[in-house]
Symmetry: C2
Subunit: 609 residues, 2 copies
């Protein structure tokens, strides 16, 4: 066969296998796979995608991200053609226990991340490309197959801007412009010129081709290799369901197996069993950063320090101790104090500007390559990236997200800047860790531990200063708590800004003969259930107090810890219940009833009742 014939034959095989896999499953997206089959065939057979199939974790391997994750039949057909899976496994597509899920996940190597929520693959690809360029310093390429429908997601344009700004010539986006979305034509249809104008206006090298002309595809990839100062976007005009008349370029054929797969396979020239010898990358080892060593910062008890400052200082120190720690920020580094890390370790700092989705996606991309990212912004604005965080859990990503300016205690800026739902939303991420230290020493120790913590970790930080109560030499562990005061009338469980308030309330109550136990539950997930249960056993009532809405926060974590306990005292939740406005921090804490006075009043009521 000529090269052109090999490309065409492999493309047909990928189509046939996509049809077969989805027919065996009884569901899936064969037509979305068929449109991109030729693009992928040339990528593989032309030697553009460099994978060491015997060592899928080879750091020099290229990365292939299916941003249009629903084209999973095509993706798995590629893995089969490359000899990574066999035909028997291909037929397990979408079955219980199969590694070949409805949308790709890292359960099947070498898949880097889960896709399937559109608009996420390209931003993550930007992160991997950033790792290649700035951290690993290996010339692997990142190839990202995108759908045209997902170009409507704003996150794609965050990625497009960042890729251009960072001149990521190691990144190639291949847009499968098959014109048809799930229910109708996209906004741009087949208007490749408008796609091209947008890509160019954002600073990309742009190529438009017929995505079924294998020679044009090859030329495009050759052109990619020659561009060294910017990313390249290939806009390929394709047809959904290409090659099978019953579905080709027809609406209403999205996300369903073909009605007559046998006929379709015949029309595509029948089954094939071509194996591609993928080109191997040149050997390469990731760059390692020299480190100076040193120790974590610590503070004296009774100092007043903002935990966000402790975060910045601890992260900076951690960066001197470990070369794999990197930081990202959403253009508020002088608020989160990640600027300290930038100043000390500029080569490991990533400015993500006001693009929180891209920030989280970049962090996901960096950890794909084994780096240890800490990404920070106001906790309220992490909500912008919630879908990315949700997907990151499916990606089995290890991420540390630091959110500053939590709660009404930020004061004058008002509710748009106050995170009040962050504990709830992060607790509901699978396998997550949610920490809310009340002082600087806790913060420093937790930052260091988070570097080795698997899964998604959220560190909630305060704008204002709090009293250092944890001695620098006391060990603070994830899943622990600190009992600040013993007592058995009432247990007050606090975290973050409310710890100082709880201690003050307990002092007032002590004068009145009410013995309050005060627990600093800095680890909200996992929570120190044993300590909570002991408090419920010993005390006549439990009060939880948090600078957060009542739902899903500390209070519910405490209730959860006590759920199976039949015999336990009443639990009274203090939380923010009315929409706050602007005001001084202490005014807003008071208004919400979560200051010392509010806590003491609640304790008195419970003691009286």
């Amino acid at each position: 066969m000529t090269e052109t014939e090999r490309f065409r034959e492999l493309g047909q095989q990928l189509r046939v296998d996509s049809v077969r896999a989805s027919s065996a499953a009884g569901s899936g997206h064969p037509t979305s796979s068929m449109s991109a089959a030729d693009l992928m065939a040339v990528l593989l057979e032309g030697g553009y995608l460099r994978w060491d199939v015997d060592q899928l974790t080879n750091p020099a391997n290229d990365h292939l991200i299916f941003s249009k994750g629903h084209a999973s039949p095509l993706y798995y057909s590629i893995l089969k053609a490359a000899g990574i899976i066999d035909d028997a496994e291909l037929s397990t597509f979408r079955q219980l226990g199969s590694r070949l899920e409805g949308h790709p996940t890292p359960r099947i190597p070498p898949t880097d991340v889960a896709t399937g929520s559109l608009g996420q693959g390209l931003p993550i690809a930007v992160g991997i490309a950033l790792a290649g360029r700035r951290l690993d310093r290996i010339d692997y390429r990142v190839w990202c197959l995108c759908g045209d429908s997902e170009m409507a997601e704003g996150s794609m344009w965050e990625a497009i801007e960042h890729a251009a700004f960072n001149r990521l010539s190691n990144l190639t986006a291949i847009i499968d412009v098959n014109r048809l979305g799930q229910t109708r034509e996209t906004m741009l249809g087949w208007d490749l010129d408008r796609y091209r104008a947008r890509a160019e206006a954002f600073g990309w090298h742009a190529i438009t081709i017929d995505g079924h002309d294998v020679e044009a595809i090859k030329s495009a990839y050759d052109e990619v290799l020659a561009v060294t100062d910017r990313p390249t976007m290939i806009m390929a005009k394709t047809m959904k369901g290409r090659g099978v008349k019953a579905v080709e370029d027809l609406p209403g054929k999205h996300g369903k197996p073909l009605d007559n797969p046998e006929e379709a396979i015949r029309e595509l020239g029948g089954e094939r069993d071509l194996r591609v010898q993928l080109r191997r990358p040149d050997p390469a080892e990731p760059h390692e950063f020299a480190v100076a060593g040193g120790e974590l910062p610590s503070w004296d008890v009774d100092e007043a320090v903002a935990t966000r400052l402790a975060y910045g200082e601890a992260l900076t120190a951690l960066g001197s101790i470990r070369g794999d720690v990197v930081a990202l920020d959403g253009e508020v580094s002088n608020s989160t104090h990640s600027e300290l890390f930038r100043e000390a370790h500029e080569d490991r700092y990533f400015e993500m500007f006001i693009a929180e989705q891209q920030m989280v996606a970049a962090a996901i991309g960096l950890q794909v390559r084994g780096w240890v990212p800490f990404a920070s912004t106001f906790a309220a604005f992490l909500s912008r990236a919630y879908d990315f965080v949700r997907m990151a859990a499916i990606s089995q990503a290890n991420l540390r997200l630091a959110g500053s300016h939590a709660g009404v205690s930020i004061g004058e800026d008002g509710p748009s800047q106050m995170a009040l739902e962050d504990i709830a939303s992060f607790r509901a991420i699978h396998g997550s860790t949610v920490l809310h230290p009340s002082d600087a020493n806790q913060t420093a120790q937790l930052v260091a531990q988070l570097a080795d913590r698997p899964g998604i970790s959220f560190l909630r930080l305060l704008r204002g200063k709090t009293t250092v109560r944890t001695p620098a030499d006391e060990k603070v562990i994830i899943g622990g708590s600190r009992t600040l005061r013993d007592g058995d009338s009432v247990a007050i469980v606090a975290c973050g800004i409310t710890v100082d308030q709880a201690v003050a309330a307990a002092e007032t109550l002590a004068d009145e003969g009410i013995d309050a136990r005060v627990i600093d539950a800095y680890s909200i997930k996992p929570i120190d259930a044993e300590t909570i249960r002991a408090a419920a056993r010993d005390c006549g009532a439990v009060i939880t107090v948090e600078d957060h809405w009542p739902e899903g926060g500390l209070g519910e974590a405490v209730l959860e810890a006590l759920a199976e306990t039949g015999d336990r005292p009443p639990v009274h939740k203090l939380a923010v219940r009315q929409m706050p406005g602007s005001g001084k921090p202490e005014e807003l804490l008071r208004q919400a009833g979560i200051d010392a006075e509010g806590i003491a009043a609640a304790a008195r009521n419970l003691a009286a009742g």
Copy 2:
């Protein structure tokens, strides 16, 4: 004074008042206000902004959205210049109880929405412009002041694309390109040509000007009025802190009052007390849609119907009953069944493509004008717009968000498409309503009630069919529940897909002599606390069962209802605890332990224990 002088003088007054307000507050963003002062002065004094200041709710009024909400000192200075507030109120900026919060909210009319999370104002402005064009059919204009930093937010590009696609010539975006973000220069700096290229590539009419040249500004606005087939973006080169040497175009001056406000005011020519007579709009009344009337759909008990289908049918019927109901969808209308509404009421249907942030923002914009939006997509993908939902609560918006394909019960598509954190995240929205009907008749009644429900409502819908158990003539109310079976051994609290499973479990248990009470808690927030408490009183144990992660969902809502009750039985939560893969719905329910068998086993354990 000549017109030019009047423009300049008003610009200086807006600057002076911005400096004064933030100095009085001791915080705020005067420099970000000063850059845009001339742009706003001409908008007001030139008669471009049409506001009936005596009737701020006049439907013909223009809309002014400060997408860069941190420029609130400028916004409030405008309200003062327009005679809407007085100077005494201006000096209450950022104080407890003031209507003039750190970032604008609807507490101060005529503010349509809260801003302050960047990248939200323009997408909402698109929604208001859509309302003007397609619903109200009034020629009001929407003027949206944007920061250049927020152009990095993907949501801005969703808005830019939708505005062009819908040819919203009634929308003008004014980009205050002051070059400086919070910590550094933006990615594009003052490169107006690149901004222009992007705007034009997206289909906007683009104008670049010197944003301190009042005559150029006036020409730009005149040009806006002449463009009738597309939105216009004015890119204005400005200087942050313009007019005061100590801060003008200098880094490090973001978000803080001026060090020497008296000197700054002198440099700006001193205080002024100019009043602008804003141009009034021509009188106009919103269009009303003729409706055919009819009734909500209903189904016979024991039919098997997917609640998403019931949603589509009920919404369509509601659209025939009420002319103010409108629908939006994120290009999955054949999955959510909002396509039924589109087919019946095409003029009130908005296709938002794969742009969930823009979808929610458009819904917020439509409700600003009193329309009653229902926006639908997969519940998992509503997480994409979580920051918009959070802000919508601050905007006092009345929104109905319908999320289909909840939980592992969707089956083969896998976890990327499964909403498993949606109950938690929506419960944690201030003032929200969270409903998860288990059958079609419940769904239909709840859809109708949601039309009049204030705040943010989330309706969680199922992909698969469930048994209709609620008689069509039984009243279903928000805050209620249905007890499907009485019993006092154990109470099983279920919702959505798990109701059928709970009933089956109870039948099995009855054969074993265990009397299970089964409660269908279709209203998760507010939850029917009275019924839950009665069950806890009567039964030896409570089991909650939900197709959701354990955190923040039904189980915690039940725990919350029982929090203050000291004497209550153990509560055992059944929920999804491991990351699911693909599989058949029943296989995945079983694997998660939330099918009939898992529920029965849990009940047996509790009965034995």
